[in-house]
Symmetry: C2
Subunit: 414 residues, 2 copies
């Protein structure tokens, strides 16, 4: 007999079905045994009448066959009158975490350490359903706008972006590094004729601190666009992209969102402040400053623009007539920076001058610099940290809660 999903039970009243899942709860009452079976589409009660049944432990994997009946007093309104119970896989030893309660009674360390169990709680499962839906919305919108999905290497020859927090990898007698971002590759692929590219991929930062904002390995949602006139287009694109993602979440994950902070929205216009204005209002754009900024402007989403050149990488395009400023932006969401972006330099002489000004040698840039010799369009882009966006959509305390198996200075397992 093939499996019927719990979500399909209401259409099977009076029929014999087989359900499969985990034992969420067992309770004996007046000669009857009540079993709550949980699986990915929901939970349902099965009733085992007096008789010989296998021993059912919490979280064992079972198949139950029986007749579907309507019962207004049963959780969900339906139950199964069991005729056969089979243990598909038994459990061994005590459960380290109880996952069938209303709330998960464990701290952030156990949450991650026992991910296999804690994900069985609907609130935890919701985080990763929302995360997957964010990626689905991101990719769907960009494809509809003519973007090509790319896969760029994470093993790279040089840490050319100038970051100090690089992981190194011995590579067949040479030294490789783990990419901190697909920045240089996505720019090169704009120039390859693809013009508009996106990537969903891991990036690596050897973060020396444990904070609620940082991971050593995270998923970056990267976008790069050729033939732009300026960073305005990029902010407009990101606004439309977030609007699409949030609408997709509302359409596909409403129940999951309601377990957390509710359905997120994007205002008609996202307020903008320059970096200088932001600093005037909140002192500095630290973690606390970003929180204060959203409060000060009365908006969950705030674009910060015109960052000083000293705060941005060598490839940032200067503001014409004010070369100490750049055509760049951050997007702060619910008090956390979720995006950096901006227009990039596209003329080779200006790029080389900027490399030198940033203390870098143009000769070290190999194929990246070569790309600027043979037809690099005006371009720019941005990147969204997936765990950060997920955490802020749901109001999680730390980005670690939005990573299935987070990597930090002190955590390399599970």
């Amino acid at each position: 007999m093939s499996r019927t999903l719990v979500s399909a039970i209401p259409g099977r009243v009076g029929e014999q079905v087989r359900i499969e899942g985990w034992v969420a709860r067992v309770r004996a009452l007046g000669g009857l045994t009540f079993v709550i079976l949980r699986e990915r589409t929901g939970s349902i009660q099965a009733i085992l009448e007096r008789g010989e049944w296998p021993n059912l432990t919490s979280e064992a994997v079972v198949a139950i066959e029986g007749k579907v009946v309507e019962n207004p007093r049963a959780p969900g309104g339906y139950e199964i009158l069991a005729t056969q119970v089979e243990v598909l896989n038994q459990t061994h030893g005590q459960l380290p975490v109880e996952v069938s309660g209303t709330e998960l009674g464990c701290g952030p360390e156990v949450l991650v350490e026992q991910r296999v169990l804690t994900m069985r709680h609907p609130k935890q499962a919701a985080i990763f359903k929302v995360q997957a839906a964010i990626v689905e919305g991101f990719t769907a919108y960009l494809r509809s706008e003519g973007f090509l999905e790319i896969f760029t290497p994470k093993l790279i020859a040089t840490g050319t972006e100038g970051g100090s927090e690089l992981f190194s990898v011995p590579y067949f007698g040479r030294q490789a590094f783990l990419a901190q971002s697909p920045q240089l590759y996505k720019e090169m692929l704009v120039a390859s004729g693809a013009e508009r590219v996106f990537e969903v991929g891991h990036v690596y930062r050897a973060e020396p601190h444990e904070t609620s904002r940082h991971l050593s390995e995270y998923v970056s949602l990267d976008v790069e666009v050729g033939f732009i006139q300026g960073e305005e287009e990029l902010m407009a694109l990101e606004t439309a992209l977030l609007r699409h993602i949030f609408a997709h979440l509302a359409a596909t994950c409403e129940a999951e969102l309601m377990l957390w902070g509710g359905v997120p929205t994007v205002p008609a216009e996202i307020p903008r402040v320059t970096y200088a204005e932001a600093c005037e209002r909140v002192g500095e754009l630290s973690a606390q400053g970003e929180k204060s900024l959203c409060q000060a402007l009365g908006s969950e989403l705030v674009f910060v623009t015109a960052f000083p050149a000293t705060e941005r990488p060598f490839y940032a395009m200067p503001v014409p007539g004010a070369p100490h400023l750049t055509k760049t932006f951050d997007l702060v969401y619910r008090g956390l920076e979720i995006t950096s972006g901006g227009q990039r330099l596209h003329a080779l002489p200006a790029l080389e001058a900027s490399m030198v000004a940033h203390g870098m040698s143009p000769e070290a840039f190999g194929a990246y610099r070569e790309a600027f010799k043979h037809g690099m369009p005006p371009h720019g882009g941005f990147a969204i940290g997936l765990e950060r966006l997920t955490a802020r959509v749901l109001g999680l305390g730390s980005v670690r809660e939005a990573s299935l198996f987070p990597r930090t200075r002190n955590r390399l397992a599970p």
Copy 2:
């Protein structure tokens, strides 16, 4: 004036437009200059009448404004009578590869070395459009079947799968490794209650050989399914999945496919042979053996089943009554293995015994082994190598041609 894409030109006859792209060709004839401009949606000819125009070099990035006219003798049937030409970014020095010819006249090394230029050739661009469409088809089909997209760590604490070809990474005073596959994590996430999961992500093999079949870093399309009865369901799932992917390619990439081997199809039933039968027919399942197998069976796609336990990892489920064989399979496509899969062990005692039989210590498996104590459903899955599938769909000579920036023993750049 905002940009008009070449694909939209037929609807703009008689109007003034601005086109932007690369200079594919410049030719002077009878006082006129003919410029072919190329961009992501196509190419079009612009005519510059006698007068003062900027110098246009091959592959420079330009914007041309002018009136759209129909001309049956122009390539594509339309041309632009230019009134203004602006160089958005000039070129520097000689082009290392000519990319505007019918064929790209360069070998496989230059192809990759000069990816930014070689991708401008329609046949090369086609490879990565098809690759992106494979991923789109893969993710769309699995989402429609209730699968959750997951992101699992590539930085891992131990090389627990028993592979010797691991890259190591110094990690805050400890030793980490780059994951060879998401195998253990995807199994754990089946047990987390997600039941059905997929991942599109990089995996790493410190391949000591340079071959046309191997990369040090490649994209693995991973699938894992809980509550299965056996490997038959997995082969049925992969057949339906490939059918969906190929139909999606036919619907979205027909022009690109026609530049290569044409539109691929999946037969009504993919032939199956056991490993033992396959070896009887072709000697051994080497690279040459896989080619011979497709020929011998007269099918582009062949499932090889029932691999000996000695050929498979510790987690493979034995065949009941024949424990030297496993409930596993490979899928060979046009002479190349593109998938390994199978049912996995789910009972803890059997798993631990298999670890020991494979010379491994169950104690080394941390959270993976722990997952089998608290409700692991019967499960199995498979993985498709993205570059291999792309290469076989198009008939490329090497998987390196299906990687934007391939990583091999001797290649770490660009």
